[in-house]
Amino acid sequence: MKLKVQNLVKKFNSIIAVNDISFEIEKNSTLGLLGPNGCGKTTSIGMMLGLITPTSGKIYIDNTCFESKNRIELLSLMNFASPYIELPKKLTVKQNLEVYARLYGVVEINKRVDEMVEDLNIKSFLHKKTGELSSGQKNRVSLAKSLINKPKLLFLDEPTASLDPDVGDFVREYIEEYKKNNELTILLASHNMKEVERLCNKIVMMKNGKIVDSGTCDQLIKKHGRQNLEDTFLKIARSNYEYK
């Protein structure tokens, strides 16, 4: 599934949170949306998920413009995972996965839940309440929920934030493996540059609501004369660099 963002603007009163951004994610590729805190990443994702109404601009999913009239149809092909949103804490993991499978109109619910449980090693805490899980376990459940409908377009907002290196690596490896076997386009917002280098085909750098640079990891590192993506990020974030 291809995602195209065209001249997207979001103003909150006099504040311009997102300032005329345009980019494309090719089918089955992963785009990293990077930028310092408050640069407009979350607002941009919010608009792409239909949670925030853009002030102007368009979002196209496989050449279909995302509008109120096709919201349900397009949302059923997408999903989202973020450590900053949670699943109902008092429900067990199984109950949560079942509820979301139903909400997303999954046909063979038990089969799909079992697949996710198996793939993400969830079985040992499947009947535990979600609120009682560790960060790593919650993260895996959140990922399971985000893949329950076999989305064609997945938004991941800092998927490995606050995870220990082992669980973080498990999640990254799982995403890589899942992508190999399934048709999936990913938009990844992350502050973990190693993760971005590993998972993303292309990067879009945002600053103060604008796109300040874009390209592949290697292109950006080379262009800015740095050794790695982290240094490149720091250079762009701290300078008055303007992308032409």
Binding site: K10, F12, G46, L51, I52, M78, E86, P88, K90, G105
Partner: protein, 263 residues
């Protein structure tokens, strides 16, 4: 509307009730306390006044019906607040579920929460005070339906505020029903109110519902016109509530409050 999705959202709240005994206890506790409180107060007045014989029956029936309204509205608000407290709000609004399906799911599920609280209280009133709300007969069904529609409407208006303004609107959720209670003429006839307040009170379905309840219990007369009036007024408010909810949803999307809404 997709019945499966409505069922899915209902299931989320039914699992919540099923999985927590303290939650069930809490649902039963308050209506039962109300019955005890009003039962003893009205018994005292019966022994010490010559107003009319059935004081306990009238006041206790009013208390039960008012509690039904209160519980239906609070149940609706609580289910919505649960989504905010559990930080599940974003997940819910990015799921392919229509706003009408969310409203339908909350409306149907609120009845379970309401009945869990009210049925034990209503049954308890029979042996304790010799008062059975079921004596109202067939009109009781219509009165309950009207109260439920109005309770859900109040819930819709409060949840509209929660969607639009976020969790800071929570206090209004608890205060909303107490604001309307004096105008609802729940425990007293409408004539008690000053003339100008009577005009406002008549715009609420509550006055017609509770007047009719007293009519049945005191005079044993059923005025279906009065009941129909209450149903129509409730329904008008319900449609108004739905419109306000849609407007709030659009407002929240403009303000960006649907994302990362939590405690």
């Amino acid at each position: 509307m997709n019945i499966n999705k409505i069922f899915a959202l209902s299931l989320r709240h039914l699992y919540l009730i099923k999985g927590s005994f303290p939650r069930i206890l809490d649902l039963i506790y308050w209506p039962t306390i109300q019955i005890f409180l009003w039962g003893f107060i009205s018994k005292f007045f019966t022994l010490n006044s010559s107003y009319f014989e059935n004081t306990v029956g009238i006041i206790l029936s009013a208390a039960i019906l008012y509690d039904f309204l209160f519980r239906s509205s609070i149940s609706y608000n609580m289910m919505f607040l649960e989504e905010i407290w559990s930080r599940n709000f974003t997940n819910l609004f990015i799921a392919p579920i229509k706003i009408s399906e969310i409203i339908a799911a909350l409306t149907f599920t609120a009845i379970f929460r309401t009945l869990i609280g009210l049925v034990p209280a209503a049954l308890l009133a029979i042996p304790l005070f010799g008062v059975s709300i079921f004596k109202i007969g067939i009109p009781l069904i219509f009165l309950l339906i009207t109260l439920y529609i109005f309770g859900v409407t109040l819930g819709l208006l409060v949840t509209s505020g929660l969607v639009r303004f976020g969790p800071s609107f929570e206090n209004i959720a608890w205060a909303s029903l107490f604001f309307l209670a004096p105008l609802g003429c729940i425990y007293y006839p409408i004539e008690i109110l000053p003339d100008w307040l009577q005009i406002i009170a008549k715009l609420l379905p509550l006055v017609h519902i509770f007047e009719e309840m007293r009519n049945v219990l005191i005079h044993d007369i059923i005025n279906y016109y009065q009941i129909l009036k209450a149903i129509i007024i409730s329904f008008i408010y319900f449609v108004f509530g739905i419109i306000v909810f849609y407007l709030s949803y659009e407002g929240a999307k403009n303000r960006g409050t649907l994302i990362n809404m939590g405690e």
